[in-house]
């Protein structure tokens, strides 16, 4: 499906587009980007997977991003039957205790990816089976991929 058709379809799922704040944008990217509020994330993801016209059953990239003020997660989804790709973004301004819902129950590959995001950004995920650090040791202090991370010993800044 083309990006416009996807946008129309997904727009119809939301009862009141204004209050739920689902933003569609296509500039600056070759795929359709959907920005969603953290509270609606899990429901939107479930619908994206289960609806047979979209059927996004392949989560191929889950990245954490530090947007400067906010912390966010970017999901790249693909459908194995229709072969279209969509990008879902979710952000939160809370840098002390950022929490999102885990999508492990929808796509099992999210288990390791969400652990990586927790390790590097400190974003916690609800209902994750095993949320602990993945690459760094258990007693590491701080979250390295955040933009305000300072480490005088290990980082060489140009």
């Amino acid at each position: 499906m083309t990006n416009e058709a996807l946008q129309n379809l997904i727009g119809t799922w939301v009862p009141n587009p204004v209050t739920s704040e689902l933003e569609f944008t296509e500039e600056e990217s070759q795929f359709l980007n959907i920005s969603v509020q953290p509270a609606d994330l899990h429901q939107l993801m479930t619908q994206l997977k289960s609806n047979s016209e979209t059927s996004f059953d392949y989560l191929f990239c889950l990245s954490g991003v530090d947007w400067g003020k906010e912390l966010g997660v970017v999901y790249h989804l693909e459908s194995t039957t229709h072969r279209h790709i969509i990008v879902v973004k979710v952000k939160t301004e809370d840098r002390e205790n950022p929490v999102f819902d885990s999508v492990y129950d929808i796509w099992k590959t999210a288990e390791f990816h969400e652990r990586e995001v927790f390790d590097f950004f400190g974003i916690k995920f609800n209902n994750h089976p095993n949320l602990k650090r993945l690459f760094l040791t258990e007693d590491w202090d701080g979250f390295p991929l955040r933009k305000d991370y300072v480490d005088d010993i290990n980082m060489i800044v140009k």
Partner: protein, 373 residues
């Protein structure tokens, strides 16, 4: 440290074993915490990070040409294809059209890299299940490819031959002749691989019915490459999103439906045949032209987000660049195939024996620097 946190989850009559970071079967520095009951495995938990070099953080302060060099060290067995991914992302973002000569040469070198990687995988696969001679036969053929690379690209393992805009040098005058010699030699050797290992009764009994992965699970766990194709999930990026010269060649996608270790093994053997056929189609018809397009010395990508997928020997490798218009990316994320492939190890190993774990892990073809980045 780990023993105290891990032992809290295990019952006292379960036996806990560490396949430690230094181990002949784990293909790199991977630590597996196994809970076993007799010979049967009840839980596998990988412990990563032994070769984590924070490449993604380094990419935020490096220029795009320097980032190409960092991608070699991730999946060092398909280093050319990794380089190609970043170069293609940058070229698509800047909307540069590279000459046809560059595309064809990139594809030939990528397919040769795939053959070399699968060769090494086959040698190590035999060694893991006990046939110790396969290692030497595989390396004998891999040396020929390494010699070709050394002559043209300058290095044997981490090539850095692709740069944004084209290739670093033109191909060596001997390149075409040597590739043809290699293809002729290798076509007589690949049936030998079948005689030695594939058709061996002991090997088949070790691999058939072991480590079964269904198609739904493969898609849910994000499996790609030969792991996904062994379960029937048709995920070859060279077919779905062709890049470089791959839309000009015809080849079959290797698919099997059984989902066991033997299916994944057969997929890779067939991929080697397909790669040989791709190289044969292209090697005689390399178009003339420039070997690169000049770019600025300082590359600045326009503001936006760019994603590029390629098919490495392990599966689907993705580069996700978020750029704010400066000379470094704002955020660069590498989607590595091994990371998702490793997450299904617990799923396929539980209930089997330790020997099955070793055989299944060998068919997953993990390269740990690719996972740890």
């Amino acid at each position: 440290m780990e023993t105290s946190t891990v032992n809290n989850n295990f019952k006292s009559d379960e036996y806990f074993i560490n396949m430690g970071p230094q181990h002949p079967a784990t293909h790199g520095v991977l630590r597996l915490l196994l809970t076993i009951d007799g010979e049967t495995i009840k839980k596998v938990e990988p412990d990563l990070g032994y070769i984590h070099r924070s490449i993604e953080k380094m990419c935020e302060r490096d220029s795009y040409q320097q980032i190409v060099h960092l991608t070699d060290r991730m999946d060092y067995l398909s280093s050319n294809i990794n380089n190609e991914a970043v170069c293609l992302a940058v070229e698509n973002a800047l909307q540069i059209e590279v000459p046809d000569r560059v595309k064809v040469i990139r594809t030939i070198i990528g397919e040769l890299t795939r053959i070399a990687s699968h060769n090494l995988w086959w040698g190590v696969m035999g060694m893991d299940v006990g046939a110790l001679t396969t290692y030497f036969y595989a390396f004998r053929d891999r040396e020929m490819i390494n010699d070709i690379f050394e002559e043209t690209c300058g290095a044997r393992l981490t090539m850095n031959y692709n740069i944004p805009g084209g290739l670093m040098f033109d191909i060596h005058p001997n390149f075409i002749k040597r590739v043809k010699e290699f293809i002729t030699h290798f076509k007589t050797k690949l049936p030998e691989y079948d005689t030695l290992l594939t058709n061996n009764v002991i090997f088949q009994k070790r691999m058939r019915g072991v480590g079964i992965l269904s198609k739904e699970d493969a898609i849910s766990y994000g499996a790609s490459g030969p792991v996904g194709r062994g379960s029937g999930y048709s995920c070859d990026v060279r077919k779905t999103n062709p890049y470089s010269a791959l839309d000009k060649v015809t080849f079959n996608e290797a698919l099997r439906t059984e989902g066991d270790s033997f299916a994944r093994y057969e997929v890779r053997i067939q991929e080697m045949w397909e790669s040989i056929s791709i190289v044969e189609q292209l090697i005689d018809n390399i178009p003339e032209g420039d070997y690169k397009v000049e770019t600025n010395a300082v590359i600045k990508l326009p503001k936006g987000e760019f994603y590029q997928k390629v098919e490495t020997a392990r599966g689907e490798f993705g580069v996700y660049i978020i750029s704010t218009g400066t000379k470094n990316p704002y955020r660069l994320k590498f989607r590595s195939p091994g990371f998702s492939n490793l997450s299904l190890l617990n799923h396929i190993a539980v209930g089997g024996k330790i020997g099955d774990l070793v055989a299944s892990m060998a068919t997953l073809d993990l390269v740990i620097p690719d996972i740890d980045r």
